[in-house]
Symmetry: C2
Subunit: 109 residues, 2 copies
């Protein structure tokens, strides 16, 4: 048996409850399962491929500043951002905060 064990059921339940509480204020984000991990996902519409890339570049600066990184898919007319926490195979309250910060970055005052 390895020294490091997965989260206890109690810890997992607490972390999930905390994430759900934070999620109540998010608009346009949904949960999506990729392999064994739940991700918090939103697609932003854009007017070109380069606009999608520009969004990714702005989100990258936020991610570097927090040292917490999403996946970003850029394509013509859309930029899809996914936040998750690898150790949890799921969404932590911090991911919800990063999602809110992404909205704020792209649309905020």
């Amino acid at each position: 048996m390895s020294i490091c064990q997965p989260l206890s059921p109690d810890a997992r339940a607490l972390l999930e409850a905390e994430a759900r509480t934070e999620m109540r204020n998010l608009v346009g984000w949904h949960l999506e399962q990729v392999e064994e991990t739940w991700r918090l996902v939103k697609t932003y519409r854009t007017a070109s491929f380069l606009q999608s890339l520009a969004l990714a570049e702005r989100i990258a600066r936020l991610a570097e500043a927090e040292n917490h990184h999403p996946a970003i898919e850029i394509a013509w007319g859309r930029c899809t951002v996914s936040w998750w926490t690898t150790r949890l195979h799921g969404v932590h309250a911090n991911d919800v905060r990063m999602a809110a910060a992404t909205d704020e970055l792209l649309f905020g005052g």
Copy 2:
């Protein structure tokens, strides 16, 4: 009935055969179905999130120059590129050439 019709079976068969011929020289690419569309996909490993972004920026310049755009997913340590042709719901010989050009751009002489 709308004026524009899908490709005839003969045209589709010819285009698929042409794409398959071109694909013989590709290394590390595979076909992946996303919704109703087949894409030509490769994941490049990187050493950070910003390196993944830098690959995306280089591929974006190639895509803009050819006015043919992939989807690129960047994440910490990997950059995944997908080429397809929307009208075909699949891979055209041009997508195979863009895949080869992507390899050449990132690793070529």
